[in-house]
Each structure stands twice: as C-alpha cells, then as structure tokens.
C-alpha cells in the first residue's frame, strides 16, 4: 500500500469558499514507485527556547521527492520555520502544521520562542 497525503481545506467565510480536498500518493522523484522510507513521527519538548533546530538535515538525503510533516503541538508560542540558513518560511502557531516538499539541498530549521514548547515531525523519503 502506498503512502497518501490528503489535504482538506474548508473556507466557509469566503465567497465561493466551500470545502475541497486534494490527495497525493507519495512517489519517488519522477517515478511511479512509492517512497519507501519513513523516519517515524518524532515528538520533541524543549525546556527552553532554542534557535535553529535542524529538523531536516539535507546532507542525509539525496535530491528526492521527500516530504516533511511538522506540527506545533504547544499550547502557546509560535515556532519559526526557516530554510537554508535564516530564510523565513513562516510561523506555526499552536496547533498549526505544515506539509512541504524537501529536496535534499537545504536544511529546514525550527526556532522555538518560549520555554516548554513541543512539536512533532516526520520525513517520508527515498534515501
């Protein structure tokens, strides 16, 4: 069975904003075979605020169709997500998650901003 990722976005407050879903099967880059490696979902709690925590280490992966899941599971405080040094992707507030492609050329880092923040993350990849 392949790995599938489905997004359901509901925007009832906006004109034409119904609910739509998109689903993708996680495949090797440019191929029809499935991604076959998974880090599992790691859960991390930081006792103190911590900057530039590497959550995707590009040196460990080849240029692939890998995907990163990351969620801020804290009760308070955002987590700043950055790529390739300090190029800001955005802020994940409590409960926010992201699911992004990562291609093995640049690290993805997270910065927690207050004590006792928690997050979870996992990577689907092909090596």
């Amino acid at each position: 069975m392949p790995t599938t990722a489905q997004l359901t976005l509901s925007t009832p407050d906006f004109t034409g904003g119904g609910t739509f879903s998109v689903s993708t099967t996680l495949l090797r880059a440019g191929q029809s075979s499935d991604l076959d490696q998974f880090t599992g979902i790691a859960k991390v709690k930081k006792a103190v605020a911590d900057a530039d925590i590497v959550v995707f280490n590009a040196s460990l992966f080849s240029n692939t169709g890998a995907k990163l899941y990351f969620k801020n599971t804290s009760d308070n405080g955002h987590i700043l997500m950055e790529v390739g040094g300090n190029n800001i992707i955005g802020r994940l507030y409590p409960g926010d998650w992201m699911f992004i492609p990562v291609d093995g050329t640049t690290n993805i880092t997270a910065t927690t901003v207050v004590a006792n923040q928690e997050y979870e993350f996992g990577i689907f990849h092909e090596g």
């Binding site: 407050d13 904003g17 739509f20 997500m81 790529v83 390739g84 800001i88 955005g90 998650w97 990562v102």
Partner: protein, 140 residues
C-alpha cells in the same frame, strides 16, 4: 465560522501502520478565536513555457512578521500532459530551494510575508494551483 485545514497521512511503511489525522483552525497570529480575514481563492495557472524564479506569492502584497498566513501550492499538471514535470518551490531573493512537487503533489505551509515565494517549472504547460489565506493586518 472559521476556515480549517486538515491533513490525513496514511502509510504502511512501518509495522505499526502510520495514520496521522490532524486539523488546525486558521486564525490570526496569537489568537485562538479571530479568523484569518483574507483569501485569494484557489488560482490555477498554466505556464505555457518553462519558468525560472517565477513569483507566485509576493511579500509586498501581505502584512508581515507577526502573522499566520498560510499558502497552498499544488502541481496540478494533468497526466496526459506529463507525469514527470516538477514544480520547484523557492523562498526569497536568493531562491533557496524548498523542494519539488511532482504531478499531484501539494504543499501547505505557513507564510510570514517577508520573502517572495517563487517557482521553477521543469516542462512547458505545467499547471499550478496556488492560494493564500492571510490576515489583513499583522497582530500587534
């Protein structure tokens, strides 16, 4: 009624089959009750030629820093056009690579409005869907 984004991940790559189901309510930075108040709608763009560093989300259009914007991007290229064409997502003026979306792949990411989001397309006639949910004013 708030906007929501839900993720369902199903995998049998480990012995204990992974099933992740999570949802977030799309609210303004630092709030649990005030909804994001702007939405671009889902735009579909067909690039007749390959593109390099093509901006699809412009930071100048959004409040920045203390914001909880969200961006959706999908490689919607139909299979009768290509099954291998990729869309590379890049961040900022130095075009730092985030990753590759193959046909059908999607990304959902936070966005703080300080850097543009660009894409490269690997083939002609790539179809790309993009949407931004945002807050009109940064949280103070």
């Amino acid at each position: 009624m708030a906007s929501t984004a839900s993720l369902s991940l199903i995998s049998d790559l480990t012995n204990d089959a992974t099933g992740i189901s999570t949802s977030t309510t799309l609210v303004k930075a630092g709030s649990s009750t005030t909804n994001l108040d702007q939405f671009t709608g889902v735009e579909t763009i067909v690039f007749s030629a390959t593109k390099t560093a093509e901006p699809i989300v412009l930071a100048a259009d959004y409040a920045d820093t203390n914001v909880a914007h969200k961006v959706y991007i999908r490689n919607a290229t139909p299979s009768n056009i290509s099954t291998t064409a990729f869309v590379r997502i890049e961040i900022g003026g130095s075009n730092i690579h985030l990753g590759l979306l193959y046909p059908g792949d999607w990304a959902f990411l936070p966005y703080d409005g300080t850097l543009d989001i660009d894409i490269d397309t690997s083939e002609s006639n790539c179809h790309v869907e993009v949407a931004v949910l945002s807050q009109s004013v940064a949280t103070t």
